[in-house]
Symmetry: C2
Subunit: 157 residues, 2 copies
DNA sequence: TCAATTTAAATGACATGTCATCTATTATCA
DNA sequence: TGATAATAGATGACATGTCATTTAAATTGA
């Protein structure tokens, strides 16, 4: 078991969160690369799968990786052919975003990758510890702006 | 207390880590902005303060936000006048990086900001919970490549 | 009805992360 | 001694995050 620096618990926590996020992102990136997808793209495709159709603003509100109108990210996914973008008939300021057929297929691949990585994590860390971490982290975030996004995503209730 | 999605603890954990990191980054960014520094720059300046002089490679190994030779980040800090860069006399492939006088002053400001944000966090979360989170997260990372960086930084031992 | 205001999305500019490639320097080895 | 290999750092190109600004469309209110 590691010894941590307990003289500065808040600073230690900050860097451990940063390190955990970076390590996780690196692991996901490594495997997403094989199917030609970045982490941000994967999140978009999955959010669309579960909530389509969405406007850009609605999508932006549901992304944890993205805080504002993700025009460029979406335009790249449209160019790649995984997302369809249509101007709304009711209000042409809005666009309606949804997955194409290829996008739906790509999401299946993404889900397989994610599920296998989740399984690895669940096998290396006792579930009670994961659940406890989840409870503490969600308490920490409960009054923060991002908790709204987490509720939209069903990550916290 | 929040209810979390316990049907997928690993996925929930992933997004909670992502959300915690993003929320924390946003808070630091907000306050660093007032002294004209980005989060990555702040980390560089603090690492140099505690370990100077460093080569680019050594610095890169110690950064949690950065994984490789951070040439451009450093060049911007040199341009801004906070970091001094000299070619090594012994081996001119290497550069020696250290803080300028202005850089040292900027680090004092950075430290004040960080300490006040750390204090806020320590006041809103019981220390035992923070320490427990730190222990669990460091255990999680102990076999990961990034644990080397964390040890160099004294965050884990 | 029309001016003013608000809203959705796009874009410019900048910062940074990532990967590949390049240049310059040093080390190694026959 | 010189060719080859390894190393440190820089740069090109691309992706994405952030903030400000712009454009186009819809809403509001007099």
């Amino acid at each position: 078991m590691n010894q941590i620096n307990n003289s500065k618990p808040a600073e230690t926590f900050r860097y451990l969160i940063l390190a955990t996020e970076r390590q996780g992102r690196s692991i996901f990136k490594e495997t997403f690369k094989k199917i030609g997808v970045t982490g941000a793209q994967a999140e978009v495709l999955k959010v669309l799968q579960e909530n389509e159709p969405l406007s850009l603003k609605e999508l932006g509100a549901m992304l944890i990786c993205e805080t504002e109108s993700p025009s460029r990210l979406i335009n790249r996914l449209v160019t790649t052919g995984w997302v369809q973008k249509e101007t709304s008939e009711k209000d042409s300021r809005f666009v309606n975003l949804s997955l194409s057929k290829e996008g739906k297929e790509k999401v299946l691949q993404i889900t397989k990758i994610e599920d296998s990585l989740y399984k690895m994590l669940e096998q290396s860390v006792p579930i009670e510890i994961l659940e406890n971490l989840n409870m503490q982290l969600s308490n920490l975030l409960s009054e923060q702006p991002i908790s709204h996004t987490l509720r939209l995503r069903g990550i916290i209730k």
